[in-house]
Amino acid sequence: MDLSMRWLADYVDCECDIKRFCADMTMSGSKVEAYEAEGEYLSNVVVGKVLSSEPHPDSDHMFVTMVDVGEGEPVQIVTGAQNVNVGDYVPVAKHKSTVLHEGKTVKITKGKLRGVASNGMLCSLAELGLTVNDFPYAIEAGIFILGDDCDKTVGMDIKEAIGFDDTKVEFEITSNRPDCMSVIGLAREAAATFNAPLNVKKPEFKGIDGNIDDMLSVKVENTELCPRYMAGIVKNVRTKPSPRWLRERLRACGVRPINNFVDITNFVMLEYGHPMHAFDLRYVDGTSIVVRNAKAGEKITTLDGTERELSEEMLVIADANKPVAVAGVMGGEYSGIMDDTTTVVFESACFDGASVRTTAKKLGMRTEASSRYEKGLNPNNCYDALMRAFQLVEELDAGDVVATFADVDNGEKAHKTVEFDAKWINDFLGTDIPESTMVEYLTRLGFEVKDGMVVSPYYRIDIECKADVAEEVARIYGYNNIPSTIINGVAKAQRTPKQKFEKKIKNAMLAMGVNEISTFSFISPKYFDKINLPADSKLRNTVVITNPLGEDTSVMRTTILPSVCEVLSRNYNFRNAECAVFELGNEYIPVEDEVLPVEPLRLGIGMYNTDNSVDFFTLKGIIEGVLDKAGAVEYDIERADSNCTFDEVASFHPGRVAVIKIDGEEIGIFGELHPDVLDNYSIGTRAYAAKINIPELMAKANVEKKYTPLPKFPATTRDISVVCDDSIPVAQIEKAIKKAVGKILEKITLFDVYKGKQIEEGKKSVSYSISMRSHEGTLTDEQADKAMEKALKALSEMDITLRM
């Protein structure tokens, strides 16, 4: 809402400068977003009187004028305009002045035009930043010749002389205060804020003889959606421009002046916050107005020239045959005021907010009127608005108002009342405001306090409970005068085991040099193709956003993998030589027959290094590190095959992908990304990724740590090399050795894998260092040898033999 300070001053004198006004209004609840003085870009532009005008000696279209600018000596100015006559009063941009040129501020200095000295410039409306809407008697292509509605004191600052010196203040009005979307509403707030008197008089009109019932019938069929409908008639319409005082008030509020009738409806809407509608009686078939629901399939061409199909829940203003307006949204094509209009109907009505909102949304047209109605306007305001319109018609001599008017009023008359409890308010706010002060604040705001009740003025539809009253008191008292206290009572808090576990995972990742990322939870369904997901994958069943911003953000991710790939791709394209990232982020998995999906937490990891220093085993090392820190003691890392529960297995290099299993349950997958996936993401280097299911990992992890006594006896080490089929994973060999050696096994370290000379084709040699220790005593050589024999025996059963 843009407010004209000049208009506001018609009703209240705040006795302070603009800065203080804005600050105090903000602190009492009417937030000022910005304020701006009109014509700020104009300086040193004054009223001048043209004393003489001669043709330029060297130009066939320019004139040399002498202009009195109130400085004793007239100044010589050359102009190219053709509409300047001796005796005219014009805006003169003097030497060292600023005006507007093509929307930008430009400086005017003296100079020569074709050899003749020019000490400034005569200005057009555009150079002042105005249009012919602001001064209808002026012309666009020429100098602005000041009319009788301007002050013609020579030398006077032009802004003051033509009334272009208002200040507009932009307010952010909250949705609970539609009454403040008006000059009078803000005047009330200002009066309460600055404790100044409010001078708003009830509008009145005289009227001419006549009875509206002879000219127009009004019927409201749906009184629920239209609690009040008022209509009045103006005969002998005299359409013409509005006077300056009205034009300049509209302009400062950001509304373009058109003609007296349009201006009156806009003026009343801005002043009272109540939309008005004026239409030509000629086009009301059967001189009857019916407020009713639209019929199915009924159509209307609205003022903007668009034909719209209506539906039954929409409310329309209809004549005997057809809808002439969509109630509270927009009038029909022929409803506007034309040059030959003789009789005008003024409508001042109240419509149900939710209904207007739904209709406007459905028809895809939010108008100034609909945005006001949908917040819920008060039926009581209809009367004042109509009276004000009539008063203006008479004041502007725009026509003759018929003395009687139609009023179908089914509106709620009772004012809202709420219990007044000063002690409760103080206890609630933590303040110590005397009851009498509270009453004074509330009275200032237009409330009446009597018999232990607070009675709202009719325009306050938002006061419903004690807390609402407390807010009214608090905002006038000043939120910042409320003391600051610390909450009473003992409280203890700590992170939940789940939160602690997640923090542990995150810290482990950071410690291993991986950076944390944060990615969008919604993705494009096309990303499933990008990561090679099979067409029938269950992961393609997503939570779909019905009104997404774009396809890229249209479904909730069911796998964190594409988010990770996206980040790798972006970094590769940014030419970052290396990238190692992780995210602890949710997946969103639809559940059949449930309203909401589940949102399990996943650890996604991605990494590459263009110097190839990162490989599968770098990632595996990180995975093992995080599993260790998570407290996963027993886990298996196995080649992933097509039976894998992770459909993402298709995103990986088929020979370089592994699953993490705990107690037989697959809780994670990792590996090198499939070359096709790398291609799809334009990643020109090998890259690695992982996904680990965090809740599943936590369920298996041992979060309690226990100390194991340090060994008292020395360890015995034996090195062995065995030969086996190349296809046997080393993990199987290790498992067999572990089992055979039993509890004296302390550590088994693989130190060499060899293929080639001396080893048969299709076989490999694997070397281990096996460390054994007993907690009961020093191991003897015999004990160690016996354990090794057992190990070799177990291996031989798997066709694994000692290397000779």
């Binding site: 909102r357 807010e471 003391p483 600051s484 610390i486």
Partner: protein, 339 residues
Amino acid sequence: MKDQLLSIQARAKEQLESITDPKNLEDFRVKFLGKKSEISNILKQMGKLSPEERPVMGQLANKIRSDIEESISQRSSSIKAEMDKIKLQAETLDVTLPGKAVKVGNPHPLNAVLEEVEEVFLGMGFDIVEGPEVETDHYCFEALNMPKHHPARDTQDTFYINDNVVLRTQTSSVQIRTMEKMKPPIRIISPGRVYRSDAVDATHSPLFHQIEGLVIDKGITMSDLKGTLELLMKRLYGENAEIRLRPHHFPYTEPSAEVDLMCFNCQGKGCSMCKGEGYVELLGAGMVHPKVLEGCGIDPEVYSGFAFGIGLERITMGRYSINDMRLLYENDMRFLEQF
């Protein structure tokens, strides 16, 4: 004999001076103290001395011997010290050469700030709770005093899954879930992702983070809300941080406030950073609306409480002077490595 001994002592002392090498020192020891040394030879002739002279000479010879031994040992340690010095000198490094990088990962800036906020609230006895991001209309709007067609819904452009399910536009939904489950006293914060259909630009994102706060107990006042938020801001931004509360409207709180932080750049005078206002908008807060309490089965005549919602992006960007929100979701390594 005495003269002989004294002369040996004098010569030994003289020669020792010039020895700088451990090997020469060993030769010297053999020469003066070895089995074939002059002293040994002299001592072999002790038998020729009179019984009176014998102990005197013996004593003298032993003294000279131990003197020389002592000198050798002194010399030895000074040679060693000298050699150590030379060796260490030779090992001098250019300490300005680059260090060997030990990689440590960096937390995402949003989470780094979130963790600080969490620590402050844990310290004040607030538990951390979580709630679903895909949420029913009931928890996201209805129960927060925003029935269908409520004009306030307009300010939160919502992503819909269907008529009944939305992507939550605010973490306030967790307030309701918490109040339904827990009975007062309640002290929680709930950080998380929220969604609004705003196109991506420097200050908007369709996905961002909020930290919801909720306190419900007997006798909770608006001054408690003020005190809590003041404490948070001082912990986050230092003791000089100052906030102001400004009346506002949220359907689920009454009274409602927007909370501004005094601009650090101009100390409230108004500058380009705060767009001349002297304050930057930080969060929304208020006393929980009695209708909301009632809806959750909490008697507003007995209990009261406050709630607030902090925009994590806003405080993070302010904290690190990040001027473009897009950087937070781009995850460029050159950006991530700065935190």
